[in-house]
């Protein structure tokens, strides 16, 4: 290698303006003042676990399909999401994906089941819609019943949001309604724009990266 390359900066599929760099990721420097916000959480580590639907691996992970758990699997606090049958999405702090993957592999090693652990940090977009208008905005682009009785805090489901396959994760913060929306990376900017469009009548503001810690610790 003969060239000295510039330091690599990781970029979300969602354009950040104004931008700043945090933990090696380019993120939005905005700070919203309103109650309802949309933030780009793509820098969070995203590790996927594939394992039998309801066996020893599920017990080892401690989360069933359709539910979430803030926990620590050995790499710091993570949000463990039962995102699909036989599929778990684990969200951790930026830059922790390798450690998270190792921790998960160790935890699953003793199950005797066929499992896979993949780092999908770069393959997915993640955003958080939070505040009193979150339900109204989401109801404009998603057909799921968002009532507490049907989708309470800690619910995870995969559905169509603005015609994009999306994992919708109810992850309230300090009693404030909050949704994580997780989709395939290349559709991230489109989904972001669609949410802002749906939120244009609800005064939804863009705000900077929140991170998982602020969400989880405030619960």
């Amino acid at each position: 290698m003969s060239e000295t390359t510039a330091a690599a900066v990781a970029r979300s599929p969602i354009a950040a303006s104004p931008a700043t760099v945090l933990d090696g990721w380019e993120v939005s420097a905005r700070a919203a003042t309103g109650a309802s916000t949309l933030s780009d959480e793509t820098p969070l580590a995203k590790v996927l676990v594939r394992a039998p639907f309801d066996g020893a691996s599920r017990k080892a992970l401690g989360v069933r399909f359709g539910r979430t758990e803030h926990t620590d699997v050995g790499s710091g606090e993570v949000l463990l999401v039962g995102s699909a049958p036989g599929e778990w999405l684990t969200l951790g702090a930026p830059g922790t994906a390798p450690a998270l993957r190792t921790a998960l592999e160790e935890r699953l090693a003793g199950t005797g089941e066929f499992t896979s652990v993949l780092d999908l940090t770069h393959g997915r977009a993640l955003m958080r819609l939070q505040g009193p208008a979150a339900t109204t905005v989401l109801a404009g682009v998603c057909a799921i019943d968002l009532a507490d009785t049907v989708t309470p805090d800690g619910t995870a489901l995969r559905t169509s949001v603005a015609a994009v396959v999306t994992d919708v994760v109810r992850d309230d913060v300090s009693g404030v309604r909050s949704y994580l929306l997780h989709c395939e990376r290349s559709s991230g900017q489109y989904l972001w724009d669609a949410l802002l469009d749906a939120g244009s009548r609800s005064a939804v503001e863009v705000t900077g990266f929140r991170g998982l810690g602020s969400a989880g610790s405030a619960r």
């Binding site: 330091a7 940090t121 057909a143 049907v150 489109y190």
Partner: protein
């Protein structure tokens, strides 16, 4: 303080102020005025006025010309359903003037009138009316067929509708999903009571009202009604859990209470379509007053009793000066009292309950006299009719109910026994009664609706009966007149249709277009049925009604479309492409660079130096597990068991019918870890294909397939200097020996770890496909461009790639194959291993191979190398029949001539055969069959 005059127009000589002194219950705000124009003349009204109430207060009587005969039409119902008050507002056509509220600056005009509303030359149609027989258009313009475009052009000028200027703003049409426990359709006393009861029982409720305020008929009633209205509104407001939607309509009811609701009058939103999934639906739309059919019944000044009551009590408008009233019910009697209260001289009361009737209304621009049944003639400018009610049962019909005609009440009534469990009815549609009785009934219905929606244990709520009142059957008096004022369908048209054999109400509807106007039959259906029944000697019950289908009310296309939700996908390098002038290509959902200005130069750069293309959309599947080789053996037509770690192999997939499904390369990254690539458009299908086989046919196999298409940003570095460029950014050994053709390595590129590099070549040149963790895609791309500047590196787009691959003879699945192309017709004969024990599509391919009659994929060159036959040009056999088609064709910058691929019949597929290609313009050109590879057939350029 004098408050008169409060509505006036300027610039008109015959201004007549018909605004009454303030009244209890009026909905206008007299403290403020609102200016607007009507056909260019300035008027004023008050907030709360509709367009038509303001115009009526200014003395206007004619608001439109009729659909067919261009007869002057005035106010009939003073509601959303009013057929004679369609107007143009700015660039918005077909606005219901009797419903749309006045806002400052509205520019209102009549529709399709020339030179003016008052003197419309198209009214000459009325003189030709005797020739405009039933089914006139069908009978007259059917032949000669070739003249239809001319007929259409002329007929369109007569269409009674407004205009949408081409530069009209597209508007903002919103969409929302909702899951209320109970939807109540109708915000009258029954609807309000049902909503309150359901909410008190714990249900979330959507209360939907077509008018601008809750209250129904209570709004224009007497003191008792107003007191009840005040009380019910207060209960609704005080009850949590009720979402009130005014100026909204429940447009339909589908299975499982999937209910579209159209919401209007929203701030910043033209309309919103709410897709509600309700636990229970309470249908409480009240009753609609029915017009009477008689000669002159369409003249301005002929109005319904409810219209009089609305005008007087809601908008304080004097509806006329001298009235004749035909009444058959208490509402008509109440209208008489309102008229007298509004200082209208009631010249005659014709009581149908005593067998009295009217014969005709006379006048030209409006009613001037009324002829009574006894032959007497009374001068009057107003004829009020109160002859009965129509129950708007549409939502019940759509729920499976089939309301039956009840001669006692002279209307169709629902059959509760046929309603599904989650649909209930309340209010006037069920029966009559005073406000107390209606509220009591609706309260029980609301509680029962909540019980069913919430699946509350316990016994059903006992719903009291709601009495019905006898009503005389009065529909038409046989003197003529119009049945459908929206469509200009007369009573005579119905009779004529019956005489011509159209004796079914469904046929009459379609033949005459009765009930097919904007009112959708709410005013017209029962009269149509009654006249048809009389004409055919049948009964109304036996004749039945037409089918009430969704939508209940007209819905704009904008509301149905909502916001444009068409996902698009971008690669991480998209911002760079935009900044560097890439011409975008929409490829499925992907937005890709088609070229950067000069595709031929991009090709030349790849052939001579080095180029970069963003190939992120290539499908990528992560395969893990001990049984991956078995899966590959099953899905691909070639062999995979011996693929070593670090090696890459090309494969083709076929479906069970042997038709080519997809192709791509798969590399082995580790002992049990593979990365499969697919075509860009086939990524999702191949993933589903693999999952289908794993989940249904081979569940015992241990394989995890995970789509990772966009986990990697993919860059193809192609050209003779690609190795030199890439070496500047990686420590990986890129030598020909250590990293040979069809190999895969992982390593760091431009400081980014975990990159996957494939030594493959779609372009035919030495090339490396670099898959970078996607968040660093832009970084790596920019580093490659910077590092290769002195080498002359340039980006190339999809068009250059297509030329390069065509020069190399690589087929594209879906372009050089189609939905019928089996494996041996795709130019991959040597790849298909029929000696494998099994693979998907093998039986069909064995059969295709044995039969050996299939078309071949061949190379093709026109003898005149300047001619590029367009793709899909037909290739002719010697008898002039179709022998094949050109599947790909381009001008080759490398060869300086046109080249192509073609699907061709076996008999003509031998290299050297000359064939005739018929171009789309009809010219024939001669081409010669060649090998598929046009450039570097030995592959020396890519194996260096």
């Amino acid at each position: 303080m004098s408050i008169l005059p409060t509505t006036r127009r300027r610039g008109a000589d015959d201004a007549t102020d018909r605004r009454l002194p303030p009244r209890e219950g009026e909905v206008i705000d007299r403290r403020r005025t609102v200016g607007f124009t009507w056909n260019g003349t300035r008027y004023t009204g008050h907030p709360g006025d509709t367009i038509v109430s303001a115009l009526a207060a200014a003395g206007e009587r004619v608001f439109s010309r009729s659909y067919k005969y261009h007869r002057p039409r005035g106010l009939l119902t003073a509601s959303y359903l009013d057929p004679g008050t369609m107007v143009q507002v700015g660039d918005e056509p077909n606005v219901r003037g009797a419903h749309r509220l006045l806002t400052p600056g509205l520019e209102v005009s009549s529709q399709n009138t020339w030179p003016s509303l008052r003197f419309d030359v198209k009214a000459v149609n009325g003189l030709a009316g005797r020739f405009l027989a039933t089914g006139f258009y069908y009978k007259t313009f059917i032949r000669p067929e070739r003249l239809w475009p001319a007929y259409e052009k002329v007929l369109r000028t007569f269409v009674h509708a407004g205009e949408v200027p081409p530069d009209t703003d597209r508007g903002y049409y919103d969409k929302r999903h909702a899951h209320p426990d109970v939807v109540v359709a109708g915000g009258g006393p029954a609807g309000m009571a049902a909503a309150v009861a359901a909410a008190r029982a714990g249900a979330s409720v959507m209360l939907v009202e077509e008018e601008h305020q809750l209250g129904g008929h209570l709004r224009w009633g007497g003191p008792g009604d107003r007191a009840a209205l005040h009380d019910l509104r207060a209960q609704v407001a005080a009850q949590p859990g009720i979402e009130v939607l005014t100026d909204s309509v429940v447009a339909a009811r589908y299975d499982d209470n999937w209910i579209p609701i159209v919401q209007r009058s929203l701030s910043g939103v033209d309309e919103r379509l709410i897709k509600a999934r309700a636990g229970a639906l309470v249908v409480a739309p009240g009753l609609i007053e029915r017009p009477y059919v008689f000669a002159g019944n369409d003249l301005p000044g002929v109005v319904l009793s409810t219209a009089v009551r609305r005008l007087v009590n809601l908008w304080a408008v004097q509806p006329g000066q001298r009235a004749v009233v035909l009444t058959a019910n208490p509402e008509g009697d109440a209208a008489i009292a309102d008229l007298e209260d509004a200082r209208v001289e009631v010249a005659a009361v014709v009581d149908a309950r005593r067998g009295e009737t009217i014969t005709a209304a006379h006048g030209r621009q409006g009613v001037r006299a009324v002829e009574l049944g006894d032959g007497s003639r009374i001068e009057a400018d107003l004829l009020v009719t109160a002859v009965g009610w129509t129950a708007p049962t549409s939502l019940l019909n759509q729920s499976g109910d089939n309301p039956v005609y009840d001669p006692r009440t002279a209307r169709f009534r629902p059959d509760p026994a046929r309603m599904p469990e989650n649909v209930l009815a309340a209010g006037g549609i069920v029966g009559e009664g005073d406000v107390v009785q209606v509220v009591e009934h609706a309260d029980a219905v609301g509680r029962e609706a909540a019980r069913r929606a919430l699946r509350t244990a316990g016994t059903a709520v006992t719903v009291p009966d709601l009495a019905v009142a006898d009503h005389p059957e009065i529909f038409s008096n046989g003197t003529g007149g119009f049945v459908d004022l929206s469509e200009d369908v007369s009573a005579k048209d119905i009779v004529t249709a019956a005489a011509e054999g159209y004796d079914s109400v469904e046929l009459v509807k379609r033949y005459t277009t009765a009930t097919m106007g904007p009112g959708q039959g709410k005013l017209e259906t029962v009269n149509t049925v009654a006249i048809l029944a009389e004409a055919t000697g049948s009964t109304i019950a036996a004749t039945g009604t037409t089918t009430w289908r969704p939508m209940y009310a007209p819905v704009t296309l904008g509301a149905l479309a909502g916001r444009p939700r068409e996902p698009v996908r971008y690669s991480p390098m998209h911002p760079w492409h935009e900044r560097h002038g890439a011409v975008p290509l929409v490829a499925g959902q992907w937005i890709r660079p088609d070229h950067y200005g000069d595709p031929a130069a991009e090709v030349t750069a790849v052939r001579t130096t080095v180029g970069l293309i963003d190939v992120t959309p290539i499908g990528k599947l992560d395969l893990r597990g001990p049984d991956v080789p078995k899966l590959l053996e099953l899905l691909y037509v070639n062999k995979w068991q011996k693929l070593g770690v670090g090696r890459v192999r090309y494969g083709v997939m076929c479906a069970e019918d042997g038709v080519v499904l997809d192709d791509g390369v798969t590399g082995r990254l580790g002992e049990q870890h593979y990365l499969m690539s697919t075509t860009s458009s086939g990524a999702a299908a191949v993933w589903e294909w693999a999952e289908r086989w794993l989940q249904t046919a081979r569940p015992q196999w241990q394989v995890h397939v995970t789509p990772v298409t966009t986990a990697y940003a993919s860059v193809n570095v192609a050209g003779p200097r690609s190795r030199e460029l890439l070496r500047r950014l990686t420590d990986l050994d890129l030598g020909a020996e250590s990293f040979g053709y069809m190999s895969v390595r992982t390593g760091t590129v431009a400081g980014v770890a975990d990159c996957v590099l494939w030594r493959i070549g779609f372009t035919g040149e030495l090339s490396f496909e670099v898959h970078v963790p996607a968040a660093y895609g832009l970084h790596v791309w920019e580093q490659l461009m910077a590092a290769g500047e002195d080498l002359g590196v340039r980006p190339f787009g999809v068009e250059a790639q297509r030329i390069l691959r065509l020069e190399k003879g690589h087929a594209i699945v879906g372009q050089d194959t189609d939905g019928l192309t089996q494996g041996f017709s795709a130019g991959v004969d040597e790849l298909i291993k029929l000696d494998k024990p099994d693979f998907v599509g093998k039986p069909e391919l064995v059969w295709q191979h044995g039969r050996d009659t299939h078309p071949r994929l061949v190379g093709l060159r026109t003898l005149d190398g300047t001619i590029v036959p367009p793709e899909a040009s037909q290739i002719l056999d010697r008898a002039g029949g179709i022998a094949g088609r050109v599947t790909s064709s381009r001008m080759s910058p490398t060869l300086g001539r046109s080249i192509g691929l073609a699907q061709l019949d076996r008999e003509l597929a031998a290299v050297g055969t000359r064939v005739t290609v018929r171009l789309p313009d009809g010219r024939d050109v001669v081409a010669e069959v060649t090998g598929r590879v046009h450039v570097d057939p030995e592959g020396e350029r890519q194996r260096v």
